[in-house]
Assembly symmetry: C3
C-alpha cells in the first residue's frame, strides 16, 4: 500500500466506526476495563466486558469483533478463553489478542499456547510480549533475545521485528508492537509509526486501551488497517494530550477527550509524514517503510 | 404528589444523605465499580463492593440499602446473588436492581428470573433492559417491542413506559428508565425528567453510577423519591458538566465534581421546570406528568 | 531517628524508586486497582495485579516487594492469599497488608487470622481496621475500643495508637494508621504526620493507593521509612491538589499529577515542620514525636 492508500484506508475505518458504532466485546483484565471501555466509546465503538464461558461463546458468535486480554487471569477464564477463541476462529470473527503477563507459568501459558490454533487477527503487545508469544508458538528460535518483567517490556520495539513478522505470517493477520515507536506488520508490509507520548507509559492500561480500540476498528476493516488506524489515532491523541497536560492523570483525561474529538480525516492526515525524512528513511513524525 | 411536594421530598432525601452518610453496599460489575463508588461518595453516601455469598448475606442483613448490578457475571455470583436478594427481601431492605446484560442466556437469565420473588425496590435500566425484564417476569406480552444489543439500549425511553409501569405495579416499588429523557414511575404516578447530557452515554458506567446513587437515596427515602432524587441530581450535574467539558473524560470529572457540590436545595430547585411548557405538556427542562 | 535523619531517609527512598523503577505486584480489590496502579506508576514504581495462586507464588518469590489488600474477596483468594503471604514470609520479601473489610465474617477473617504467621512488613489501615487486626491477632484486649462500619473507620487515628504499636512490635515491621492525621510506628518510634486533605476521603481507594505506594517504597527502604515516605508524599500531593481542585474527581487527577511531579527532595523537605510547635508539641504541618 502506498501512503495515500493507507491514509484512505484509515479514513474509511475511522469513519465507518463513527457511523456504525460497532461492538467489540472483551474478556480483559480487571485493572484497566474502565480505560478500555472508555477508549472504545471515544472512537465511536461500543463496549461489553464479560467472563462466563456460555456468555462469551454466545457473544463471540455474533459480535463483529472481539478483544481478549490475559492481564488478570481468573479461574473461570480457564474455560472461557479457549471456548471463546475457538468460537471466534470458527466464525471467522476478527479478534485481538493482548498477551499481557505472558511468561507467568501455569494456566496462562497453557491458554496462550492453545490460542495458536485460533489464530488471532491482531496480536498486540510490547516488544517483550511479542517475542515471548512467537517463542511460545515456536515461530522463532528459543535463543531469540527478549525477556519479560511483570507486565512491562524490557525490549525495544525493533528487537521484536522478526518475531512480529513471523507471528503475522503464521496468523495471516496483523501484529502490532507498541513502544516508543510502534511497529505494525501483516507479514508482508511493515510500518513503523512515530508520534504518541511517553506519558502513555505512565498511565496504566494504555496498551490495553489500544488493543480494545484495535478490536473496534477490526469490526469494520482488515486487521492491518485496524491496527494502523488505532495506533495512528492513539499517537495523534497522545501528542495532543501531552501538549496540554500537567502529569499522567490529566494526560489520560485529555487523551480520551482528544480521541473522542478526532475526525476520520484528522487521523488519516496525521499519518502523512509531517517532518523531514532523515538518512534512515525515518520521518520525525510519520512512518517508515521497512524493506523485508 | 404535586411538584411542590416532589421538590420537598427531593430536598429531604438529598439533605438526609449528606447528613447521615448512609452505606449502600453493592454487588456490581468489575468495569464501573470505581465510578459507582465515587458517585455514591459524591452525593454523601458510603460505598462497599463485595462478592462472596456469606459476606453479602451478612451485609445485606444490616445495610440500610443495597445495589445489585448484573453487568459482569462471575461464577461466585450464582450463589451470591440469589442469597443476597432473598436476604434483602426478607429484611425489607430497599435494594436497586440494574439488570445489565439481560438477554445473554444461561446463568444471567436464571438469576434475573429468580429476582422476581425478591421484588427489588427500584429497577433501573435503559429502555431495552426494562422491557426485557418485564418480559422475563411475564408482566407484559412476549410480542411487546424492544430488543437488546450488548449493554446498550436500542429503544427510546417512551417505548418502555408500559413495561416500567407493569414492573412497578408488580414490585410495589419504583422503576427508572434512563435515556435521553428519564421515566420514573411507582406504577401510579409517572414522571419524565429532561435535562442531563448526551455525554453521559459516552462515559462507561453512567447508568451504573445512577443506580448506585439511587441505592444511597433509598437508604433514607421511599423508592420513588430515591429514584427521582438521583435522576434529578444526575441531570443537573450532567448539564453543569457538559457546559464546561471538552470531551467525555473531562465531562466525567466535572460531572462528579458537580455532583459533589450540589446542595439539597439546588437538586430540589432544578426539578422545577425552568423552560416553557410546550403543547405536549413537556417542559424543555423539568417534568411531565403522564396521565395513566 | 532525628528529623534530619528521617528527611535523608525519605529523600533516599523516593530517589531510589525514581531511579530503579521497582515492581510491587498486588493482590488487591477490583474496585480501586486502577488508582493503585496509577499511584504506583506516579511515584516511579511498576504495577502488576494478579489473582491465581500459582502466579502469585511465582511472582512473590522474585518481586522486591508486594501489596495485599483484602477489599473484595473472591473465592480463588482463599488459596491465593495464604500461599502468597507464606511465600513472601519465607523469602523475607517486604509486603504491605491492607486489611480492608476486616470484620466481615467467614473467609476474610480466616485469611486475616492466618496472616499473623506471615508477619507483614507494613500494616496499613484506618484506625478501626488497625484496632480490629490487633484484636484478631490477640495483641490487645478484646474490650479495646473501636468498631468497624463497612470499609470506613469510625475511630480517630489516636485511638489506634496502642494497637498500632502492639502490631508493629509483633511483626517487627511498621504500622501506618491513616486518617485526618497519620500515625506511623515501628514499635519504638511513633510519628504523627499532618498534612494531606479531607478530599482524600471523598475519593474511593485513596487508602489502597497509599498502601500500594508503600509497597513500592518497601522495595528499596525499610518498612518504617517506606511507610513514612509514602505518607509524606501523599500528604504533600494531597495539599497541593486540594488547593487547585474543584471537587473530588478533579482532586484525584491533580493529586496523581502532583504525586508524579514530586521530587525526592520536595518529599523530604515537606516532612520538615513548617508551622509553629503548639503546646502539645504538634506542628501545624509536620511531625510529632510521641514518647512511649
Amino acid at each position: 500500500m502506498t501512503e495515500q492508500e493507507i491514509r484512505s484506508a484509515l479514513a474509511q475505518a475511522a469513519g465507518d466506526v463513527r457511523e456504525k458504532n460497532p461492538q467489540a466485546p472483551s474478556v480483559t483484565n480487571t485493572v484497566t476495563q474502565d480505560f478500555v471501555a472508555n477508549a472504545q466509546l471515544a472512537v465511536g465503538g461500543s463496549a461489553t466486558m464479560i467472563y462466563l464461558p456460555d456468555e462469551c461463546e454466545q457473544i463471540a458468535a455474533t459480535a463483529p469483533a472481539f478483544y481478549i486480554n490475559t492481564g488478570t487471569m481468573l479461574p473461570v477464564l480457564a474455560e472461557t478463553l479457549p471456548r471463546t477463541a475457538k468460537t471466534l476462529h470458527d466464525n471467522r470473527t476478527p479478534w485481538v489478542l493482548d498477551p499481557v503477563g505472558i511468561g507467568m507459568n501455569g494456566l496462562r501459558t497453557k491458554i496462550l499456547s492453545g490460542f495458536k490454533d485460533c489464530k488471532p487477527s491482531i496480536v498486540r503487545g510490547n516488544a517483550s510480549e511479542i517475542i515471548a508469544l512467537a517463542k511460545l508458538w515456536q515461530l522463532v528460535d528459543d535463543d531469540y533475545a527478549g525477556t519479560i518483567r511483570g507486565v512491562d517490556s524490557t525490549e525495544k520495539v525493533s528487537a521484536a521485528k522478526t518475531a512480529a513478522i513471523a507471528l503475522a505470517k503464521f496468523t495471516g493477520g496483523a501484529v502490532a508492537v507498541s513502544g516508543e515507536e510502534d511497529l505494525i506488520t501483516d507479514g508482508e508490509q511493515t510500518i513503523i509509526c512515530a508520534g504518541g507520548s511517553a506519558m502513555l507509559t505512565k498511565v496504566t492500561g494504555s496498551g490495553c486501551a489500544l488493543g480494545g480500540v484495535m478490536a473496534v476498528y477490526a469490526a469494520v476493516a482488515n486487521p492491518f488497517t485496524a491496527a494502523l488506524t488505532a495506533t495512528t489515532a492513539f499517537n495523534l491523541a497522545g501528542m495532543q494530550a501531552a501538549a496540554k497536560s500537567d502529569g499522567p492523570a490529566s494526560f489520560k483525561i485529555k487523551f480520551l477527550d482528544a480521541l473522542y474529538k478526532l475526525t476520520a480525516q484528522e487521523i488519516a492526515d496525521s499519518f502523512r509524514a509531517v517532518g523531514v525524512l532523515d538518512s534512515m528513511l525515518t520521518y520525525t513524525f510519520g512512518m517508515e517503510r521497512v524493506k523485508e
